[in-house]
Amino acid sequence: MSGRLHILDGGLQTSLQGRPMTGHRHIALPGAGPADPVTLALANWCVGNAWDMAGLEITLSAASFHFDCAATVAICGAAISADIDGTPVDTGRSHRIPAGAALRIHGARTGVRSYLAVAGGFAIAETLGGTSTYLAGGIGGAALRAGDHLALAGAAGPLDRNVPPAYRQVMTDEIGLHCVPGPEHGLLSKTDSDALFGQPFTIANRANRIGCALAGPELRARPGGIASAAVFPGTLQAPPSGPPFLLGIDAQTTGGYPRIAQVVRADRHSMGQLRPGMRLRLLRTDPGKARELLRRKLLLWRALIPDLRL
């Protein structure tokens, strides 16, 4: 028998995110998907799901859900506390929720996003090859609000899985992201390039799935615009005025601002936890070293989640 999860309170922003809608950037569709895919994979691992099965991405504030059937669930990510009908439960492990119970995920003090995985997943149709929500276009769904509900696919049996300590994601207020220079990096002066990779930035107040502005070292020589060209999540743009802007998972596919750096694939999952006020260092690397970094990171993660890809 399958039941439903009802949204009691979606908080700041809650959406279904799973496999991205890959392969459509030539028609300007960003693939969407979890902003922090590693943490969704961990939540899925706790309940025995495939690593990229769609779960709920919960942003910053508290959110609550009602289950009209029993289910096995796990919460991983920024939230460090939750309760089931008022009884505190740990994050980072599986829980059995009785039929009719309410699950409340508390607000995050560090980091931004938490993921709720339900054993067996949700009964949802694929959109353009993915199971994710592109919020700006309402493609694959929309932000979930009080009164919305999702059909559960129907549950696997109870599990008791706890994320091993070595794999627990510790959220901090300071982070380093490896970057390669962007295509227009050469337009920066030596001084500005040194500042870019040498001095810390602070995540400004504007931060969401589209991206975040970086306050910090003033880049003095500002190159002009370029003819609209490809950008990707992790591309750092330098607009003619104002702070550099780091593109997120839902950013548009092309842009006209100089692309001065690119966060490498191995580190992009961490961008999903960038929170206003956090300190960010851009760590310069090159494509060959970035590939090695990815290889090492995946080796570690696959010891727990064998199919994980980044």
Binding site: R25, H26, A28, Y134, G137, A230, Q262, L298
Partner: protein, 227 residues
């Protein structure tokens, strides 16, 4: 240096390579479009992204290293045959130029040196070709065969541009498939479904196709919109 060979030709040298994407300058539109089609047909690339004067691909660095990606890309480019322009499909896009849909028509007409009343016939008479899709899913950047006087961006972008809006910016014409913020001066609105996930392909337009705008009145717009 790659194991595949130590020599890079001039094209390859101009390629920018990150750890999982690369981009090459490609100002020639027929070549860019032919290369886009060729690259979309190959399993080497996760994404293919044509820009206004460049072409980028994203690859999986677990499978493909940066040097190999550069060589695979350059080899595909070298084998691309550029199509005759005459083979290109033409799409008729109905546009209602009613004042309610064209808040910036007077300013745009002034920039173009036209009487406001002549803007719709001027717009419909141009031969437009889609240069690229960007900004929003299915948003077409169209370029006219004749040079168009560049139109400046709105000083204050609108918080919400209605779906189907048609704007002019620089020398280009753009079509908004989705409501959202936008800075293009607006001259009309189309009832056509520019992006529909239930359709294959979901985007009505793609880079390289021709666009012919035809004027419709408000009653026709409302009728087509309801469909």
């Amino acid at each position: 240096m790659s194991a595949d060979g130590p020599f890079l030709n001039a094209d390859e040298l101009a390629i920018y390579v990150a750890d999982d994407w690369l981009s090459a300058p490609m100002p020639d539109r027929p070549r860019r479009l032919a290369a886009t089609q060729a690259l979309l047909g190959r399993a080497d690339w996760e994404e293919v992204v044509p820009g206004l004067d460049s072409l980028a691909v994203r690859f999986d660095p677990e499978r493909t290293g940066p040097d190999t990606a550069r060589l695979l890309f350059a080899r595909t480019l070298a084998s691309v045959a550029v199509e005759e322009d005459s083979a290109v499909e033409t799409f008729d896009i109905p546009v209602c130029y009613a004042a309610a849909f064209a808040p910036d028509a007077a300013d745009v007409a002034r920039h173009l040196g036209l009487a406001a009343a002549n803007l719709p016939s001027w717009h419909a008479a141009q031969k437009w070709t889609v240069d690229m899709i960007g900004f929003q899913p299915g948003f077409a950047y169209c370029r006219a065969a004749a040079d168009v006087m560049p139109i400046p961006r709105l000083d204050q972008p609108r918080q919400s541009v209605p779906e189907g809006s048609i704007g002019l910016l620089g020398g280009l014409c753009g079509l908004y498939p989705f409501a959202g913020p936008g800075g293009w001066p607006l001259i009309g609105r189309t009832p056509a479904a520019l992006f529909d996930v239930a359709r294959n392909p979901p985007s009505l337009l793609r880079a390289g196709v021709r666009v012919r705008f035809t004027a419709i009145d408000r009653a026709q717009f409302d009728r087509l919109r309801r469909r």
